[in-house]
Amino acid sequence: MLKTFIGGIHPPYNKELTNQKPIEKAILPKKVIIPMGMHIGAPCEPIVKVGDLVKKGQKIGEAKAFVSVPAHASISGKVVAVEPRPWPGGGLIMSVVIESDGKDELYEGIHPPKTLSHLTPDEIKNLIREAGITGLGGAGFPTQVKLSPPPEKGVDIIIVNAAECEPYITADHRLLLERPDDVVLGLEAIMKATGVKKSFIGIENNKLDAVDSIKKALQDKKDIEVVVLATKYPQGGEKQLIKAVTGREVPSGGLPMDVGVIVNNAGTCAAISNVLKTGLPLIERITTVTGSGIKEPKNLLIKIGTPLIDIIGQCGGFKGKPGKVLMGGPMMGLAQSQLEAPTIKGTSGLLVLEKADVKLYEPSPCIRCARCVDACPINLLPTNLAKFAEKNMWVEAESYHAMDCIECGCCSYVCPAHIPLTQHIRIAKSHIISSRKKK
């Protein structure tokens, strides 16, 4: 029996568009826009001004708070603007705009650190923070914070999230195939930094070649185990992954460390390995550029800050009329309105759906078929929550555990009445959060 969780859905995965395509280095962008808040937590403060010359890897944003990370220049060139700019998260955010000098010169301060065996746990964590590493799965939580749990939590398991359950996205799949050693090295650094002796790498069984690849890289390391998971969305959801791999359930409102687990994305491990090997901070990432509206779907190694329109251009441009441009996959991705917006650390995919493939539906009445109830991986009653949200019944929504919703989108996906359940619950959550703040 393959390990998995209760609920979930089997959407069409469409991974064959890119899963055979080796990672390609993207063309050096002419301009990058580096947002100062690509992560969860306090944004960092720009430490460069217009006219400054910066080099690749140079710190341009300083993080003062604990839950924050610095930002770095991903190319060499001249700072042409320090101002609020559109970003994929929506709205405007303070950003540093760098115009390339075409040289892609490395900052003098960048050099490889000591080898892993000579680094102390604190040195590793500091390297991770200074390299600006955040979770590359999408949420963008500062990794070093995750790796510093209070000792009383008794963290005893690290899980590497390589499930990659979002349809279309193949960035982690290609990473596991092409650079499995980096994932392993990054994981070993995490284990050393946290002092945890046991870890698991969770991969869905639609990527068995990746399982082989990582097993080969692991050779006979006994403390790291590969767990083959059933292919089901959202298998890569943190809570679902923890349940499948360890059988533990993160308590409602709690964190993985409350059950002794820390989860990191495979891409995050590779980013850590990159710092250990080269000293380079997180300034590029693998992004799957794909979808019916893209001429040549690709897995690209992209400089963080590259405008979306540049990336689309490198993949042959739009095929047909674009309907939606999504940052991320089709289940949880954010629809973009401005193609000037940059890629950020959490951009695992850029999905373009052709206009003809974008269907908009008029919702009809709920027939209480309970499909949403069966699909919900948290075991919520999405139809009830949506009704509460429609009637502004926030207290009731909270008592039916609206805050536990992970917004995976399964309920909306299965609803035969086309009710935007996920969106209703999101609205309920934001009302509940704001009423909590008032208290």
Binding site: K324, M331, S337, V358, I367, T422, Q423
Partner: protein, 307 residues
């Protein structure tokens, strides 16, 4: 630059493609099986009753939607299903005009006055049937024998009034007296399995309904197989007690619903004044559904006890 007019709706951006009319028409297709059985055993009259009742149901739905200034949505198939279900629950010899009255009541008092699709607490077809049952008791309990069309009785009334046992094989095939679509247990089961396979019927309801009838009737010294194969039980368990709108949301709730309906059915059959109690049992459990929903909220992932 931004002349693409990109569409920005919230996630998810994929949909399964499932829709309400597909569900309803699948139910209608499954209902064709007992309909064929009815036509085979009771002839043209069965066919015309199904057609007339379905048309009356759809017309009533359209008129009400028009009166309420709502979009006409008879294409969703729900009124068709109600009409078919009602017809299958009628004696084959019922006058047409009574069947039409039943359909009008089913859609108007059973569904539209509550707000239409999704808002009705009771199964509309059963509301129609019980209305006819109480209003036109004699025609609603006048049964005809299959094929020859002579006046006869149902196995349940034969058992209740005269203590006569009907042959199992006849009951399975449907060569017995009864409502036009309830007689062939076999075809109803096949239709039900089709809907379970399609995911439109949760097996828990028919399983717990039939199971509790078998257990309780056996416990009361009755013949469980006879009870399973007789009356409207099969049709009720697979097609009426599984109506999504009027049954509980959770898996546990569905099992409770099925067990409750089974208990009421046997109690009415054995101790009640009517020979049959499936319709009343399902309606009673429909009334309990909000309560069941309230007490069977599933335990969520990582639920912590309220402090």
């Amino acid at each position: 630059m931004d002349d693409y007019r990109l569409i920005t709706t919230s996630s998810p951006h994929l949909h399964s493609g499932e829709n309400i009319s597909r569900i309803m028409f699948s139910v209608a297709i499954a209902l064709l099986l007992p309909t064929f059985a009815g036509i085979y055993f009771f002839g043209f009259r069965a066919l015309s009753l199904v057609v007339i009742t379905s048309l009356a149901a759809m017309l009533t739905e359209a008129i009400f939607q028009k009166l309420r200034n709502k979009p006409i949505a008879i294409s969703d198939g729900s009124a068709l299903v109600t009409g078919m279900l009602l017809a299958l629950n009628l004696p084959p010899g019922l006058p047409y005009w009574m069947a039409v009255v039943g359909a009008v009541v089913a859609i108007s008092l059973g569904k539209q006055i509550y707000g239409g699709l999704g808002s009705n607490p009771f199964n509309p077809a059963l509301i129609g049937r019980v209305f006819l049952m109480i209003t036109f008791t004699t025609p609603m309990t006048t049964w005809i024998n299959p094929v020859d069309g002579t006046t006869g009785a149902t196995p349940l009334s034969l058992m209740k009034m005269q203590g006569l046992q009907t042959d199992y094989a006849k009951m399975l095939i449907g060569n017995i007296g009864g409502s036009l679509g309830e007689t062939s247990a076999l075809l109803i089961i096949i239709g039900g399995i089709y809907l379970i396979y399609k995911g439109y019927v949760d097996w828990r309801i028919p399983a717990s309904f039939l199971g509790s009838v078998a257990v309780l009737s056996g416990f009361l010294g009755q013949d469980p197989i006879f009870h399973l194969l007789s009356g409207g039980l099969m049709l009720g368990a697979f097609f009426m007690a599984t109506d999504m709108v009027t049954t509980p949301l959770s898996k546990l709730g569905k099992i409770i619903f099925g067990i409750g309906a089974g208990l009421f059915t046997v109690l009415i059959r054995v101790y009640g004044g009517y020979p049959e109690g499936v319709s009343f049992s399902i309606l009673l459990m429909n009334a309990f559904t909000p309560l069941i929903n309230r007490f069977t909220v599933p335990k969520i992932y990582g639920e912590v006890k309220a402090e």
